[in-house]
Every structure is written in structure tokens, then in C-alpha cells.
């Protein structure tokens, strides 16, 4: 009962937050010229036009494909390297300068260099996304491995768990939570990176369409693409990441 009331209270506050954004947006559009801020209604009309003409679906699918491939490769790479670094101090020391370079160079520079090396297109955008999300996933995984309960590792060694069994039964479940947190963070970074890379290094996708609308001063279309982007992120977060998290951490329900 208390839990239902707590959940209801939370939903009410979330809806209040959404309402605050919409009201703020509406107020801005009333006080500023339409060329600066399109109203929610005008933006939704533009979104409807894009959806009707199928432009929306084509560009969203292009961006989604680039995001998913870049994210999958970058996150898997960061995760695997993070596990190796968490387990072996030498690997961690060796990769530390590379991690530092990876996390320090701004996305715009990575995108500029990728466009120079690989030209405009899918591959460039995927490379940018992969390179940007890899260090984030790497750092989260390393921290997850280092935070694993050493007593459980000792228990595994005493009971002569093989390296494989120790990894499967102790390390991997132990890093599930930081890995999923890292993936959520990486997805947020990845979606920003994919849009920027599409602005700089592609002739299609949401970023490119946004950039084109911007150069033609189609503010309502620009806002429509922002809505599409937010919807895409919501689909990934609520449709994929949260269910994965719930499934991977279902044992935690017992703790509650």
C-alpha cells in the first residue's frame, strides 16, 4: 500500500516536471519570434508533416542503425577491456594513457578526423559513436570490477572455482549494475555523438536533417527533429535499457 502510494507520488512529480518543460517551452514561444523558438503546437505539426512524408521514419532508422552499431561495438569493446583492466593491473596501467586520450579529446575533433579519414557516411558516424562511448563503458566496468566484494572472490578461490566459473558466478553478476549504468550513460553520450557526427560527417540521419533545417531557418522542423530524438532516446531507455536492468538485477528485489 505504502509502495503504491510512493509510486503514485513519484509519477505525479514526474508528470509535473514534464508539464513544467511544456509550459516553459510554450511561454518562450509566446515571447520570442517563431524563428527563434517554435511553439509546441507548430513543432508537432512539423513532426506530423515529416511523419506523413516518411522522411521522419527513414532518417530515424538511419540514425538508429548508426547508434546501435556504434554503441554495440564501442560498449562491448569498453566492457571487455574494462574487465581485463579490472582483473589485471598491468593491462589497466597500459590502457590508462589511451583512456585518458579517449576521454579528453572532444567529440567534435573525433568527428572531424573521422570525416577526414573515412569520408561522409555510415562508417564515419559509427566510428565516432564507438570511440566516444568506449571510454565511458571502460571506466564504469573497471570501477565495477574493483568494487566487487573481495570476500566473495576469496570464497570462490577457496572452493577452487575455475577462472571461468569465478568470472561467470562472481565477477559478471557483480558488475551487472555498473555495466548497465555505464551502458545507459554511454547511450546518452552516443546519441549526442551520433547527431554531431551526422552534422559534420554524413549526408543523412537526424543530425543532417536538423542541420539542413537550421540552414533554411525552418525552426519548427528543427524542433520536430528534437522531439524525434527525445522519442528515440525514450524508446531505447524505457524499451530496452530498463527492462534489461530489471532482468539482470531481479535478485535485488529480494533485498528490498
Amino acid at each position: 500500500m505504502a509502495s503504491t502510494s510512493h509510486r503514485l507520488n513519484r509519477v505525479i512529480w514526474i508528470l509535473a516536471g514534464v508539464a513544467a518543460i511544456l509550459i516553459g517551452w510554450q511561454l518562450l514561444s509566446l515571447f520570442l519570434p517563431p524563428v527563434y523558438v517554435a511553439s509546441p503546437a507548430a513543432s508537432l505539426r512539423a513532426l506530423g508533416r515529416l511523419a506523413w512524408g516518411s522522411t521522419l521514419w527513414i532518417q530515424v532508422l538511419i540514425t538508429l542503425k548508426r547508434l546501435v552499431v556504434g554503441l554495440a561495438v564501442g560498449a562491448a569493446g569498453g566492457w571487455a577491456l574494462g574487465i581485463a583492466s579490472g582483473l589485471y593491473a598491468r593491462v589497466r596501467a597500459f590502457l590508462e594513457p589511451i583512456r585518458w586520450v579517449g576521454m579528453t579529446i572532444p567529440v567534435v575533433i573525433v568527428a572531424g578526423l573521422a570525416a577526414l579519414w573515412f569520408g561522409l557516411g555510415d562508417f564515419t558516424v559509427m566510428v565516432v559513436v564507438g570511440l566516444i562511448v568506449l571510454p565511458t563503458m571502460f571506466v564504469n566496468t573497471v570501477e565495477g570490477i574493483r568494487a566487487i566484494d573481495r570476500d566473495l572472490v576469496e570464497m570462490g578461490r577457496v572452493f577452487r572455482f575455475s577462472r571461468r566459473l569465478l568470472l561467470r558466478e562472481v565477477y559478471l553478476p557483480g558488475i551487472a549494475s555498473p555495466s548497465i549504468a555505464g551502458l545507459t550513460l554511454a547511450t546518452g553520450i552516443g546519441i549526442r555523438a551520433v547527431v554531431l557526427a551526422e552534422v559534420l560527417g554524413a549526408a543523412s540521419g537526424i543530425g543532417h536533417a536538423f542541420s539542413r533545417a537550421s540552414s533554411w531557418l525552418e525552426t519548427d522542423v528543427m524542433f520536430a527533429w528534437i522531439i524525434a530524438l527525445l522519442a528515440l532516446m525514450a524508446l531505447i531507455e524505457f524499451g530496452v535499457l530498463r527492462p534489461v536492468r530489471r532482468r539482470a538485477l531481479r535478485w535485488r528485489k529480494a533485498e528490498q
Partner: protein, 224 residues
């Protein structure tokens, strides 16, 4: 079988064990007593092979080593059944057989019906019984217990001790039971060694257990 020959162990500059020797035959139950910080856990860790002695040698019989820690140390993401089964799988048992045997052992420690509970859903005493089942299910050649019942209430401790006595009686398992409470050691063990402040060991003469207990408590009172 466990043999310690002139074993010394230090951590940094702190000497934890100094010239420790003893020999246990198959089926012996050894009690190890002494106050906190005299190296009781270090002695167990040397037996497991997780750490090596600086001097001397430690020989342990071939076969599985079971360990009951002070706290249950169960995998929180696994059920009681899987926590026992995973230890069996580590010894090379196939999955289905491990689960059947794990269920059988949970029954023997009085946890039939709790197989699918996660550790967080069990009380401290129940979780410790899962840990006992895990250590015994692998039919260890050597069973190590590090103050296993220090965190459970006195009634439960008593019933767990009785259970352990029953499980170990007449078996071939060589057991080492570490405790700071001599009465526990006297109740369970055939032999008792005391780790002393100078980091050496002294074997207590158990021909008159009551006299040993009287002497122990007299010394404890004098120290207070």
C-alpha cells in the same frame, strides 16, 4: 591430513605466526583458540593455499577444501540451492547432479522448502546454514571453520553445533574449528591448540577437559 612444519608468516613487519608445527590425521577435528588478532584466520588461509608461508611448509591432503567463514559469504544473486550447487560444480560435478545433491544437503541442514530463496530473504542463521551445507556438500577432505557461529544467537549456535557434530562424527574429514571461545572448541574438537601472544602455539592436554576449561577461565579473569 594437515601437516604444519615450523611455519612462520608475517604481513609487512608484523609477525603473525612464529614456528608453528602440528600434524592432523584424517578424521581429526582440531580446535584453534586464542584471542582476536593472533593469527587464527591466517592459519586457515595457509591451509587453503591462498597464502604461502614465509618459512616452513604446509602439507594438506588431496581433495576438496570446505570453508565456513564467519559470515555466510553467499552469492547474493544466486538462490540457496544454486549457492550450494555452484560449489559442487566447481569440484567438477555436472549441473543436474549438483542441484539434486545441493537440495539434499539443504534438507540435511533443515532448509527444505527454502531452496529458491535468495540470501537476502533468509535470516542470518539460515544463511549460515546454507554456508555449512555448501562446505559439507562437496564432501571435503579438509573442512575449515572460522568462528562460523559468532554472528548467530546462542540457541541457534547450540543447534548448529549439534548438527555439525552429527555431520562430522565418524567421518574421514579433517576439520579445523577456529574460535575465541574454548568451550566451543572443547565441545567439538578431539584436539585443541592455543595461539599465544608470542605467535607460537601450545597444544592443550585434553585428558581432563574440565581442568583445561577452569585454567582457561582463571587466566582470562586474571587478564581482565
Amino acid at each position: 591430513m594437515i601437516v604444519f612444519e615450523h611455519v612462520s608468516k608475517s604481513f609487512d613487519s608484523l609477525k603473525v605466526l612464529n614456528d608453528v608445527s602440528f600434524r592432523l590425521a584424517s578424521g581429526d577435528i582440531l580446535g584453534v583458540v586464542g584471542p582476536s588478532g593472533v593469527g587464527k584466520t591466517t592459519l586457515l588461509r595457509l591451509i587453503t593455499g591462498i597464502i604461502a608461508p614465509d618459512e616452513g611448509s604446509v602439507q594438506v591432503a588431496q581433495g576438496a577444501v570446505g570453508y565456513v567463514f564467519q559470515e555466510p559469504r553467499l552469492l547474493p544473486w544466486r538462490t540457496a540451492l544454486d549457492n550450494v550447487a555452484v560449489a559442487l560444480r566447481a569440484q567438477g560435478m555436472e549441473k543436474d547432479g549438483a542441484r539434486v545433491k545441493a537440495a539434499e544437503w539443504l534438507g540435511r541442514v533443515g532448509l527444505a522448502g527454502f531452496e529458491h530463496y535468495h540470501p537476502a530473504e533468509l535470516s542470518g542463521g539460515m544463511a549460515q546454514r546454507v554456508a555449512v551445507a555448501r562446505a559439507l556438500a562437496i564432501e571435503p577432505a579438509v573442512l575449515l571453520m572460522d568462528e562460523p557461529f559468532v554472528n548467530v544467537d546462542i540457541d541457534l549456535k547450540s543447534s548448529l553445533m549439534v548438527m555439525l557434530q552429527g555431520l562430522l562424527a565418524g567421518g574421514k574429514t579433517t576439520a579445523v574449528y577456529v574460535t575465541h571461545d574454548l568451550t566451543e572448541a572443547l565441545r567439538l574438537a578431539d584436539r585443541v591448540i592455543e595461539l599465544q601472544a608470542d605467535r607460537t602455539v601450545r597444544e592443550l592436554d585434553l585428558s581432563d577437559r574440565a581442568a583445561v576449561a577452569r585454567d582457561w577461565f582463571a587466566r582470562a579473569s586474571a587478564q581482565e
